[in-house]
Structures are given as structure tokens and as C-alpha cells.
Amino acid sequence: MHVKAFSVIMHAVYALAIAGLILFVALGFIPQDTGEMPLDVKLEAESTYEVSESNGVLEYNFSDAVDNHGNPAEAYTDAGVKIPGTMIYPEDDASVTAAVTAVKAYAALNPDVTTVTLKDGDGNVLTQMMIMKESNEITTNMYTEISITNRLRYDLIDIAIGVDQLNDSGTVSYRVAECPPSTIKTGETFSLPIDISINSLNSALIMLTGSGDTLSMYMGFDVSGRYLYGLAGASIYATAVFESTTAAPDVDISATQISITSTDPIDQLPSDLNVTATIGAITVTIVNDSTGFSVVMGDGTVNIVDELQDQYDEGDYTIEVGVPPDNEVITLTQEEYAQMLDLVKQVMEAGGA
């Protein structure tokens, strides 16, 4: 009798386990509302800007947001007050300049106003795929958000996103943005802020560590996460390329000098880039303008890797940008400096120096 009861109980437990697992997994892939997509992913940030940003940065952002939206918009304070004289029209530089001037004047009179937001005639907040932030000669800062709406039945766990800049052969990977792992609860929309920081010097070097056939910019998007209460997960790495029409440059690499010149500018770098930087005893000039693109590192007398390595070993991660008296000292993090050093070594190896 006991044996029979044990057998019945075991059959019931087994059947429940099988049915439970099938139901648990199957339900996980059917959205709560079958009329909607299970996941909604957007890459954009609301057009809210610090009024302390420079005129140039605000003009770029105002123009980009309104041009993308396609309709006129005005600037509002964070308290919802419309700032007079800020009507911006698409493809109209004069209205952009006037709006920035009006915002700056309003902020000067009202010190409590720290941010402004662009809204259209219906009160909708404009969005931008990439918001430009204050940058310096070496580093370009941008901001965006990835918003993910989870319409699945279970939470998305440990969602982490990273953005890398790569070279065309995939041998160099330089992380320009990273989000800490986050949980996206079912039925909720979660925005992951992404601060992107692109070092112009690294950016130029990365493009040159590949095969050298092209100056296209390669980006890697690294997304990972777990689902079904952590029982299953996925990691995706997508490589995207922003094609450059720039022809392969003339590259001359020796242990004491790296010289790269092209008669065409690189589309993906700022069109008015003209940087003179000094790292220890090494001078670097990067120019990207209508006449072309060039990078010259070293004066032909000092071993570049040895000099950079010495400075790294001494814990000095500074780069002096500009020519005295208009020079500025930028201090890289140890990681940033190490990445730059690594990139230079790879350029040397690729060039046989």
C-alpha cells in the first residue's frame, strides 16, 4: 500500500514538474498584451540641456532636436515657464542663434534656472538621438539614453550595455560608454543613461590600427542580460560601421615618429579639429579640416613607446593641449592612458617599427 502511494505521489510530482517547467518557459515568451511587441527599445534622450553649456553646444543641440522633429519648438524652464524669444524653426540657423541668446539672457536674470527643455506647440518634449555635451580639444562628450519597455511576463535582469570603438580588423576594442547592470521590471519602461566620451587621439589611432584600407569608424554594441528569473540569458555583440569616403592615408611609422596624412578629411571626426598636444617629450598634432586629415606623433628623435611608458610608470597621466600661453593640462585616468599606450604599441607593431 505504501509503495503504491509513493508511486502515485512520485507520478504527481513528476507531472507537475514537467507541466510547471513548460508553462513557466512558454509564458515567458508570450507578451502580456499579444497585440504589442514584447520589447520596445529606443535610443534617444529628452531635449533637456544645462544652461551653463557653451553657446556652440546649445546651438548644435537646439538645431539637431528641432531639425529631427520637423516642427517649431520653444524653450521652457524646468518649472515649465516658456522663455520669451526662443521660437526655433527647422533648418533655420538664425532662429537657433536667437533662441540660445534668449536662453542665456534669461538664465543670467534668473540664476535658479539651471536647465531648459524644448517643447513643440502641443507641449511634447523633443528628443535627440545624441545630445552633445561640453567637450575639450581631446575629448568629445555626448549623452543619450536607451529606453527599454518590458512587456514580457518576467523581469529582465542584469541588463548591461556597453559601446566600444573598434578598428576594422577587430583587434582593438576601446570602451567609450558603459551602463551598470540594471533590472527592468515587467510592464515598466527603464531608461539607461549612456555617457559617451570619445578621445580624439585614441579615436584616430584606433582607426589606424586596423588593416589601413579604410578610415571607416567601427563601433561595437555590447548588450547582455538574463531572463526567466536568471535561468536563461543572452549576450549580443553587434558591430556597426560608419563608412568613410576618405581614401586610405599615407602612413609612415617608425619608433620615433608616426605620421599619417590624407588629403581628405575624416567625416566622423570634428571638421575643425586642430589639436597640438604634448605628452612628456612627445608632441602630437591632429588636424582634420577641409584640407585633409593628419596625425603626427613624435619629432623623430625620441622613442615614442619608451617615453609614454616612462610617463605611465611615473604615474603622470597628463596631456598638455595647445601652445603656451593658451595651453591647458588634461589629466587622463590611468585606464585611459593605458589604452592610449596600448594603441600606440599596436600602431608600432602594425607598422613594423
Binding site: V3, K4, F6, S7, M10, H11, V13, Y14, A17, I18, L21, V25, Y218, R226, L228, G230, L231, A232, G233, A234, S235, I236, Y237, A238, T239, A240, V241, F242, E243
Partner: protein, 177 residues
Amino acid sequence: MPEETTLKQDMRHGSWGKGILAGVLSFISIVAVPLALMWFLEGLVASMGAGDEMAEIFNTLNETIWRLMIYGIPLIALAFLTSFYVKGNKAKVLFTVIALSYSIIWLFLVFPGGELPVSLETSGLFPDGEFSLDSISLTLDFLGIMLLLVIIMLLRMVLSYAVYKSNREKYLKKLSE
């Protein structure tokens, strides 16, 4: 009370019909269906004209299906043996436990580490634009689900023993008739 038998004695009694039927069904599910699926996918990809883009993902699926078939061959023999013996037979418990143990190993041979890496060549998707998606690498990790399946298989082992115990007397009675 019927006389108790040993495993060796139990191994002499079985049903060829049931064994062969189980073997054939296993062969169909482990070899024939995956092969048909592979040919179907190959035909589908060729008809879509997406051969180059899908090549890597197709190769990975092919390799996985081949591992499933080749490492699954012992399961066909084990399916024959587990069904060859009837409930209450010691040999049935033995081969059920062996088959389930091998199934756990098989699972990890087909999906090493509980992962399935898939690559997709996408450079041809936006051939004329400035921006193009070059490639996508996707790794699916279902180790947690596989561990749940292992627990279910362990439960199934206990269940096979419970079935054996509850049918043992009936089996011995039938044997002594």
C-alpha cells in the same frame, strides 16, 4: 508469495515488439526529424537567397544538430532496452537509470556549458548607406533551464524506482504463471 528473481534472471524476459517500437520512435525523433529539419532549413535559406548572411548561423545549427544525432545514437539503443523490459523488471530500472544518466551527459554534449553561440554576417543588409551593421554575435545561455531538466531527470529516476516497486509483485506473479 512468488519467488524473487535476480537481475540476471530478469534480463531474460522482455518484449521484442515494445523494444523495437521504442527504438524506431527514438530513431525517428533523434535522427530522422533533425535530419529532415536540417534539409528543410537548408532549402528555406537557399530559396530566400540569404545563403551568405545566414551561413554562420546555419553552420552553428548544423553542428548542433549533428552533435544531437551522433551523441544521441546510444539513446536509441537504451530506448530499445528500457522498453524491451516491462514494469516491475529490475533490468527496466537499470536501463532507465542508465538512459537518464546518459541523457544528462547528452544534453551537455549537445550544448556545451549550456550555451549556444550564433553569429550572423549582416554586412550586406545596408549595402548603399553610410551606416551598416557588420555582424551580430549572439550567445544564448540556458544553463539554468538545463539544470532544471537535470532535476526533472533525477525525479524521473526516482519515479522509475517507484514504478518498479509498485509493479514488482504483479510482475513476479505473471512470471510464475
